[in-house]
Symmetry: C2
Amino acid sequence: MEEVYRLISPNARQLDNSGMLLHVLGMPRSILEGLEKYGEESGRILVYEPEKIKGVVVSGMGGSFISGLFLYDLLSDRASKPILLNRDAKLPSFVDKNYLLVTVSYSGNTEETLRVYLEGYRRGTPIVAITSGGEMAAVSDRLGVPLLRLPPNVPPRAAFPYITAALASILEIITGVSVLEELRQAAEDLEKSLEASLGEGVAVARLLRDDVKSGLTPLVYGYSPYLSPAYRFKTQMNENAKVHAFFGELPEANHNEIMGWGGPLGRFTVSIIRGREEPEYMRARIEFLEGVLKKNGVPLYNLYGEGGSRASELLSLVFKVDVASVVLALLLGIDPTPVGTITELKGYLESRVSYSLSREIGV
Amino acid sequence: MEEVYRLISPNARQLDNSGMLLHVLGMPRSILEGLEKYGEESGRILVYEPEKIKGVVVSGMGGSFISGLFLYDLLSDRASKPILLNRDAKLPSFVDKNYLLVTVSYSGNTEETLRVYLEGYRRGTPIVAITSGGEMAAVSDRLGVPLLRLPPNVPPRAAFPYITAALASILEIITGVSVLEELRQAAEDLEKSLEASLGEGVAVARLLRDDVKSGLTPLVYGYSPYLSPAYRFKTQMNENAKVHAFFGELPEANHNEIMGWGGPLGRFTVSIIRGREEPEYMRARIEFLEGVLKKNGVPLYNLYGEGGSRASELLSLVFKVDVASVVLALLLGIDPTPVGTITELKGYLESRVSYSLSREIGV
């Protein structure tokens, strides 16, 4: 692995002393590991009858949210039951005992998600927890709530392969779509294209480094079914490279955000996340946007997925943007792993709010 | 009304020659008009039996999307059936004949929404159309699909009060929540607080004008149940003032976007849209964010809703941000009404894609 770091910069290995890049490079292996582990476990622990479940609500924040969006991209036009994403501390009122609630929190101590867990528990909604420990694991053990346990000591955003495999194993049972096999194939495809995708991620990072150094803020656009790698790119640039970056959804952004170009505030660099499932109406809209960006001298990078299936495209896109964000950090001389402000926020909330699920439930 | 323009700038009246500010100032009256018209009509045209409908999918883009988010804010923790928003050209696969599909397109010619209409029609999903005309009205008339007709010759984003009233009249029937009466009361509350809210909108616009002139890009944060005025503020600044502006959802943004502060890219001004339904866990997170912004010298404006109910708060917030965005345009010397790039895009798509719903359906 040392040679990868040397490709980036002389001090890259030293900067990345917690090994964020190694987590990213391990993505295909981690996916395969996760599929093996959770594919077997889910069938055993999921005691609810799939045919009685009207839909699934996946609740999580930040690094624990993105896998839900990834599986939504993969399944939303094939699942016969609704898969709904919840990125809030509240559970919509229609969710009752006929839905399955999947609560995802890597640490197991995310207050927003614990509050949703409590709400679901009080309504009698069947719950499955995905976590590495914390209150969510402790309470689930005591209540007998099914739990898929994530490996410890991983930065939450680097647990993406495990969370995705765990969530997929549940959604396969509920929807009947063979998503585990699709992901297994996607991980194998990614292994094959790893070197090329790594190279592309590094190349994009170099371009973005120059853009950021000249004061341009990254914008990332995506469209269904490739929203998750686009949103992932934004959040990974925030957390790894510690830079501002914003995400927009196409074609919605062409109905409003597009009016900002040509105005006085134009210091941006744009990446568009694309795939083979790009209908003519979407291509036309993107080409028009490209024209507007070109006219305004805005750098534009198109990132495409690799492989023969939607799952392969999505996974390779997440890999590329993860690489690009980590390498961008290293090229800017920043250690990608620590997220100082978020750690401070957790300490602040701990002392001020000090939420406890086990106290709320009384177990 | 002339004195309002004089408050803004000597040439404001002349600049706003299509009267965007007058549309905004007419919001309470337009809401009341819409409630009267559609409240009566919906009961007559909605031929589907509410108890057989499992949930509602509201599909629309841009100015025709925001009313869906507004009603989601108002109803998501009270409705016993799911209200789902779709901002895409595709309809999720689980939507079948047991859901109600509401397609919203002011012009009636929005390709994305017409494609969703077609998909719903093919699946036998009951449809209600909300439009001022175009293909959506023509096809609905021919197929006998229930239609609520919007008044003509209004810029789509200024049709917000009518679209909101029309959509509310449908959701009241499906959910059983008395949302029409809540909106009527909210419009009356807004009439009473109009002058104060107008003043606050103008004051915020002056601050933002200075910020934009010094190169700061506006960011708007909101949280449930006040997401719609926050997203509205972003899109209205884009379309009216022709400036870049971005929207973020709290507490999600505190899990990633917050890491951008203190980095090299920090030329922003922040507005937070708030209300009385702000639990302690949310307040703690906002106060932490305020601390981070203060440390980084970022201007911060808190906008609160007025009135004694959630509907009143939401409506007054939409009014304030609409005022602020239009006045920002006028202070920057820009006519708020024309959206040149979007008009060009429509021409481009017309000649390149030339989608026709009536041709697809064959009516």
